[in-house]
Symmetry: C2
Subunit: 173 residues, 2 copies
Amino acid sequence: MDPAVVGRRVRALREERGISLSTLARLAGVGKATLSGLEHGTRNPTLETLWAVTAQLGVPFTALLAEPTAGPTAHGTAVTATLLEVFTDTDATYELYRMRVAPGPVQLSPAHQPGVTEHITVFAGVLRAGPADAPLTAPAGGHLRWVSDVPHTYAAVGDEEVTASLLLRYPRR
Amino acid sequence: MDPAVVGRRVRALREERGISLSTLARLAGVGKATLSGLEHGTRNPTLETLWAVTAQLGVPFTALLAEPTAGPTAHGTAVTATLLEVFTDTDATYELYRMRVAPGPVQLSPAHQPGVTEHITVFAGVLRAGPADAPLTAPAGGHLRWVSDVPHTYAAVGDEEVTASLLLRYPRR
DNA sequence: CCCGAGTGTTCCGTTTACGGAACAACAGTG
DNA sequence: CACTGTTGTTCCGTAAACGGAACACTCGGG
């Protein structure tokens, strides 16, 4: 992860709010040198520092560390999935991904454990996905859902890249 | 933010994967002392350190800093929404929330800007939501979508709390 | 022109997070 | 029993993140 990226975002968020470096430093309770160094990417900020600054900006960490999350980039070439969140409830564990499917060949994914379901919301493009023997199609705004304990496929229909959110539900065994 | 909380989660995630402190430290390229102190909450870890460890665990920061994210907890009493992610594409900005709707009175939410759409995936419970004059109903696993430039409502059907993911799409003006 | 109030950067002494090594405790050998 | 390989914790010198102060700079007034 590049600290310069984080720095640029902090600076952008600050200027977006029209607040000066000096005042943000004072509000967040950190030194001006610290904030300056942070925005320039010349420092390697502490959790405490980042927390203080982002809290003052009213922004979760996620907004700073969004897209370069080197999460488990998915299995193959066409599909890129970034793990956004994992939350555990009493009866299941959920993994929420942001997914991109590049136009091109169909992407085959192996089966998961029994009972696992996938929920996909398509935001842009047209996605054809689901069980390998009976895939479903959804346009932008559409939603797909299937039990993923069988091999399944992902493919972008047309030449537009597909953006979607993927939710995996693992029932508690 | 309490560093002890982060520490406990790191330890939980590590043990969940059945991997020892020593090996995780080696894999992540950090000192054992660093990781030990981090898990105990006696240190104030650096962005670089956190990044190395979470990347090795295959978990985004979000998973560590999940629920105490004092993000914009939603409008009223029945609905609690936590901002998980913000990502900006060329044509729109997305805000992804994890939403909980407590059983009880209907929650009314004011209209957003024109063109904003909401996408909801229900994970648990039964949700009745949508435009105030024509709400829709979705059970667990269901999906709702509507244009939210009119006042809209959220309500849990039955006495089970609703868990859902809410995605707001703001088209670029 | 000078002055005060603001901007953001740089300098610097103190604090502390860092990794390597040494450590005690335990497990499975021969 | 000793030996070897673990486990995680603690010690410690070094590197660096920290906040405060000093700095150069740009505005707007008197």
